[in-house]
């Protein structure tokens, strides 16, 4: 990185930030005990003081960009503000000091929250049962796929194919393939929705399921969902809901009512827990009653006044996470759902959609945008006209936004839109922020008009300038070799 030394480069031989107490046991020769071949003399660790370490990492941490210090309209990621009350709830000692092997009698509070969360998610999505085990979205997808597979095996059916739209998140085909299925792609029609005629031709007795995001990755509601559901179910195939875009429809429509059989939710997106730094997340999975007996075990359950872990799940796919999932994330999601309530969740979705529509109106004249289309909580515009007129690409626009203090939108996704910018402002942003973002884009548009070079070398004001992504991918260097 330009101008930022690595901790290794701050080494001064002999400097250290620790002192070991004197040895109280006889000294052992490691080479003798462990074998000479595995004992290294040179480990090349940085030699720095405690203060050096603190200053180094504090400096790096100040370069972080997150939703707590700026607008983060990363499409399909729902980077909404995560209320701090969530953290307070998840940090309550009653939760944090509980051992996962503690007896059920003294774990009642935690079990109750798990049980309630399962039910709240079921109510929000119109499903019957939920597992909180999956660690994140793609893990939820795999769990859902394995449930479908086990269910079909149990019925004695050999179905080998899963259909995904060409606009799908890349995780959909990856999860289905990982679950042992072959992938068939169904194309989008001219409106950006699943092509119904093409779907009809693809669905037969070999098809296990269709994986669908609704609204889809273009931010469009699949209005033919009932017909899609009918096409699948008539042939004995199931319908899988990728919950990545639930933020558009909470409290308004429910996947269960649309005909979906399996649902995964990204609690870390829709239900406001921190994400984007590699986890932890939570990809809770919900099913209709006929799939309940295939869920991972255990589920939180209630008998009389007592809560317990129910291991009686006859055809369970087994465990897919240690203990009970990422409980800290579940607690934060629970706090969020309880704080907002039914009315608040619906309002969140309404404002998310309103914010996206408002922002689109402010910037649409600068981009290629499909006509007469109502986007939901996010929208996709194309920089094709920038490329043709100014020689500036979506990547350059994204990089320049960094100079204006904004996290860029998702770019080059969905794959079916050239030079795509995919913008999801979320409900937690104010009109002022949306206006400021629109103004920044307008300034960048002016800059593009004046010539592409300045944008092609952006960002100019960040600690690290334009990164050579090609070199980084082709010549990966993963360790410091001094």
């Amino acid at each position: 990185m330009q101008g930022i030394p690595l901790i290794f480069e701050k080494t001064k031989t002999g400097k250290e930030g620790f002192r070991l107490s004197p040895l109280e046991v006889p000294k052992v020769d490691l080479s003798e005990t462990l074998g000479e071949d595995i004992v290294r003399d040179e480990v090349n660790l940085p030699e720095v003081s405690e203060l050096d370490v603190i200053r180094h990492y504090t400096e790096l941490s100040r370069m972080n960009f997150g939703v707590d210090n700026g607008f983060y309209p990363l499409g399909s990621c729902t980077m909404k503000y995560n209320p701090k009350i969530n953290e307070e709830v998840a940090a309550m000692p009653g939760f944090t000091e509980l051992h996962p092997y503690a007896p059920e009698e003294i774990s009642q509070g935690t079990l109750e929250v798990m049980y309630d969360t399962q039910n709240l998610l079921a109510e929000i999505t119109g499903m019957d049962n939920f597992t909180l085990q999956p660690a994140a979205g793609a893990h939820g997808e795999l769990t859902g796929i394995l449930i479908i597979k086990k269910y079909l095996e149990h019925k004695g059916e050999k179905r080998t194919k899963i259909i995904v739209p060409d606009s799908a998140h890349g995780t959909n085909p990856a999860s289905a393939s990982h679950g042992g299925f072959d992938i068939i792609k169904v194309k989008s029609d001219s409106e950006g929705l699943v092509d119904i005629e093409a779907l009809k031709e693809l669905v037969n007795e070999d098809v296990a399921a269709l994986m669908l995001t609704n609204p889809n990755t273009l931010g469009l509601f699949e209005k033919n969902i009932f017909e899609i559901s009918k096409i699948l179910h008539e042939k004995g195939a199931l319908l899988y809901y990728d919950g990545a875009n639930l933020n558009a429809v909470m409290g308004i429509v429910r996947p269960g009512d649309m005909g979906f059989d399996v649902v995964h939710l990204n609690l870390h997106k829709t239900f406001s827990t921190p994400h984007g730094g590699g986890g932890p997340g939570s990809g809770a999975v919900g099913v209709k009653a006929f799939l309940r007996d295939f869920l991972p075990k255990p589920l939180a359950a209630q008998k009389g006044q007592m809560y317990y872990l129910d291991y009686d799940i006859p055809h369970s796919i087994g465990k897919i996470h240690g203990f009970y999932g990422n409980l800290g994330v579940v607690l934060k999601a629970y706090a969020y759902i309880k704080s907002l309530g039914a009315k608040g969740l619906k309002e969140a979705s309404e404002i998310a959609t309103l914010n996206a529509s408002y922002l689109l109106k402010k910037i649409e004249d600068m981009f290629e945008v499909p006509e007469d289309i109502l986007f939901k909580h996010e929208f996709v515009v194309s920089c094709n006209n920038w490329k043709e007129k100014f020689g500036v690409r979506a990547l350059d626009v994204a990089k320049r936004l960094l100079d204006y203090g904004f996290h860029p939108p998702t770019i080059y996704f969905p794959l079916i839109v050239d030079e795509a910018l995919m913008v999801e402002p979320t409900e937690t942003e104010s009109k002022d922020t949306l206006d400021a973002f629109a103004d920044a884009l307008r300034k960048i548009y002016q800059e593009a008009k004046e010539g592409p070079d300045f944008l092609k070398s952006a960002p100019h004001d960040t600690p690290v300038r334009r990164v050579d992504e090609v070199k980084a991918a082709r010549e990966m260097k993963l360790i410091y070799e001094g």
């Binding site: 050239d418 090609v470 082709r474």
Partner: protein, 128 residues
Amino acid sequence: MSNIPAELMYTEEHEWISLEENRGKVGITDHAQDSLGDVVYVELPEVGDKIVKGEAFGSVESVKAASDLYAPVSGTVLEINEALNDGPELVNKSPYDDGWMIVVEVEDESELEDLLTPEEYEEQVEGE
């Protein structure tokens, strides 16, 4: 304007194939490499593998996306372009020449009949 050589046949998924006796040489088009952006990795089958027309036989990864490669024809892989291991950028620099991907032994030449002509492929690209 992308380069679409007149002597090749094309798929809707942007692969090209040339035929010399029963040896079909396969790669991706200029338009495909331009849309993908800088290619950083090419995953190819092994010599001796069977590929099936219309099904994925490998993938191309660029800084923007990973895309499957679809077989224009069925057959046994005779050669793969080993140079792409260390030089995936050949796909960008020379999509029809040094950036070729595999040579396949074509079993049934009639499978080539429904491929796109250069004119048809050009029409498709312009329609996108």
